[in-house]
């Protein structure tokens, strides 16, 4: 009843093509943005911002990047960690070589470098598909990390091979508190998420989906596999690279290449699968699920007042977390985002389902 399109007439093409054609969706989105931009910075303490909100947003962006490639264009990739590392190290090189450069420009340039690297590693996708492509991108993961450890130039000859973010300020405003880092992260992620949402609705995005669903058919209706697949790799690596740069600069502050190991790639892939392949919303839900659930499970026994040793808690956490992933995948194989779509359909008929 509440969630119906009745009475909302679209009188122009612009209204018909809007991201959120329903007024209810627009209101809902406005509320979410208001909470994210106003309520959370005002209410949340440092623990919440530093350990949950900032990594959640950054990993959502990385998951969104992988979702473009795997969910929309259908190219399975295990190289996400490697591309994040490229973004992080590129941002570090630019930020230390040109300290005057605006940090947002640094992030964008590091995204572009990551995109270029992504295109190179996307070339094999023209010939190999599916699991074989996953193995090829796995090579990217190992090669890139090896490269970044091998040549000290990448980390300015630091004896231990760790990159540390220099102090950040934007137009004279220092980004050094948890709130300011959160706000910067939020702004970048919101803008890029909006851009991606529009991209996947456009000609380019439809090309990706056509390639995903059947590449020969897509070729026949006029999409060139070369440009379509490589553009998916480029956009995906761009988003992942920016996420990597932010992971180093706004979340951890100092990282070594090993922080972007294969586990990171798997985690982001799980976020995409659990959240929902081919869904912008799914990237955010997946990141929230994979990131916050272990933290919550860690804290839960203590919240109830149980004194359990840390290793037992961790083992319990692994078991419950794994069980929940299986549970959700059985209940909804299309990801958590699909649950939301179903909810919307049900709400439409509520309270008189037929």
């Amino acid at each position: 009843m509440l969630y119906r399109e009745a009475g909302q007439f679209k009188t122009s093409y612009a209204a018909d093509q809007a991201i959120f054609p329903l007024a209810q969706d627009r209101i809902g989105m406005a509320i979410i943005l208001a909470v994210a931009f106003i309520a959370i910075p005002a209410v949340a303490n440092e623990y919440w911002l530093q350990t949950i909100m900032i990594p959640f947003l950054i990993l959502s962006l990385a998951a969104l990047g992988l979702n473009v490639l795997t969910g929309y264009a259908g190219q399975l990739s295990l190289g996400t960690g490697g591309f994040m590392a490229v973004g992080a190290f590129a941002a570090y090189k630019f930020a230390t070589a040109f300290p005057e450069m605006n940090i947002i420009v640094v992030f964008l340039i590091s995204g572009l470098i990551s995109a270029a690297v992504g295109i190179v590693f996307g070339v094999p996708s023209l010939r190999i598909k599916g699991f074989y492509l996953a193995v090829a991108t796995l090579a990217a993961q190992f090669f890139l990390l090896w490269l970044l450890v091998k040549y000290p130039w990448f980390y300015n000859y630091d004896p231990s091979g760790v990159i540390s973010a220099p102090p950040i300020d934007i137009f004279g405003f220092a980004i050094d508190t948890a709130v300011s880092k959160y706000m910067l992260t939020l702004i970048i992620v919101s803008v890029l998420a909006l851009a991606t949402k529009n991209l996947v609705r456009s000609h380019i995005g439809r090309g990706w989906m056509a390639i995903r669903d059947m590449d020969i058919a897509a070729e026949i209706i006029g999409f060139r596999p070369l440009t379509t697949k490589l553009s998916a790799f480029a956009v995906s690596s761009f988003l992942v690279g920016v996420a990597g740069a932010m992971y180093a600069f706004l979340y951890l502050g100092s990282v070594e290449a090993a922080a972007f190991d294969i586990t990171t790639s798997f985690n982001i892939l799980f976020m995409v699968i659990v959240g929902g392949l081919g869904s912008v919303l799914g990237s955010f839900i997946g990141a929230a699920f994979i990131l916050t659930l272990p933290i919550f499970l860690d804290n839960f026994p203590r919240m109830l007042g149980f004194e359990i040793s840390v290793e037992t808690v961790t083992h319990l956490q692994f078991m419950i977390f794994g069980a929940l992933i299986i549970f959700f995948l059985i209940v909804e194989p299309h990801g958590l985002a699909r649950l939301w779509t179903i909810t919307k359909e049900k709400l439409r008929a509520w309270p008189f389902p037929y």
Partner: protein, 440 residues
Amino acid sequence: MSFKKLALALTGAALLAAPAVSSAVAAENEQFIPSLVYRTGPYSPNGTPVANGFADYFNMLNARDGGINGVKLVVEECETGYNTAKGVECYERLKGKGPTGATAFNPMSTGITYALIEKATADKIPIISMGYGRTAAGDGRVFPYVFPLVTTYWDDATAIIKYIAGQEGGYDKLKGKKIALVFHNSAYGKEPIPILKKMAAKYGYKFSEFPVQHPGLEQKATWLQIGRRLKPDWVILWGWGVMNSTAIKEAAAVRFPRDRMVGVWWSGAEQDVLPAGKGATGYTASTFHGAGADYAFLKDIKKYVYDAGNGKGKKENVGQVLYNRGALNAMLEAEAIRTAQEKFGKRPLTGEEVQWGLENLNLTAERIKEIGFEGFIAPLKISCRDHVGGGKIRIQKWDGKKWVWASEWLESDRSMVRPMIEEAAAQYAKEKGITPRDCK
């Protein structure tokens, strides 16, 4: 369907309730000591004894002396699994606990140490990274809140070369000798390379590098090359975890003499030699503290903690190298608290006050004997400028059953290490825009 809703609702409600965790109430006269541990994951065989030693020492102080000057010590562990992101989460969760907040953090991982340096400096909480972490942090002018106590990897490299020179009969005998470094191909493993190269130029030995890819289970090719082709006079092993025992096994397979292998202190624990069986006999490793349970403080731990049934681990594991390292870490923190209490009063201290205690920590031979560590560690003195303390290094040998001393306490070559530390710290200061403190 309703079960799914219930599960979702429970998860959501509990997530909202999570911040309540971080504000637990604590009694007034307690010093809160966070302990980042890794009892799970691939490195748990190394992480567990360190964590046990750390907690047991504080529990022993509580049981024997009622804490430090009447202030009870409360240790809370947080599992990191050796994962940097989880370490940061632990830090944020524990830093504000207790009546005065966290005393100091012992990250027990190089990655976590790096990630915490800035956060902890901003929060004015000291970081104690004993025998690991950022070597440059030895310069206290640039890193006021970071303490890589006792000694550093670079010091260790110079001490190992000193030991080798001693075995060969003097530094002049090193000329033309072949020394190989077998290292974990990571930031940690590469740390000694610059200084080993520098010394190669100075003393004239031929230096060659053998990187081993993580996790280091496959070293056949490396050791064939060492044992059959290069035939070096000495091998320095810079490994971690399962890589160490594999290296020792492979060395035995190619008949490279084990007593000509010297490991760093992360390659010199029971966990590294026991899996190699008889092949490990004669293997040597550097260390900065004693092994075995024959020290007064360990007897106290057994008496006050284990006999009362409060031990974290097994009684027979007290005295293992890594257990002792955890206990030593705890002792240094406890002594820093004690030092700071003399200035600020016998009450729970803030991180900022403990930082003063660490900076003025002076472990003389008398004090070391007084607290039951005689022969366990060499004297140590921290200052505002020097956050390492100039601890000494000793070589230990595995005799097949236990570690025995194979050298005297060796002084590292500070004249070579210190300028390198200051140079690295200056570069860090420049990148971060830090003005170094004036240490008078």
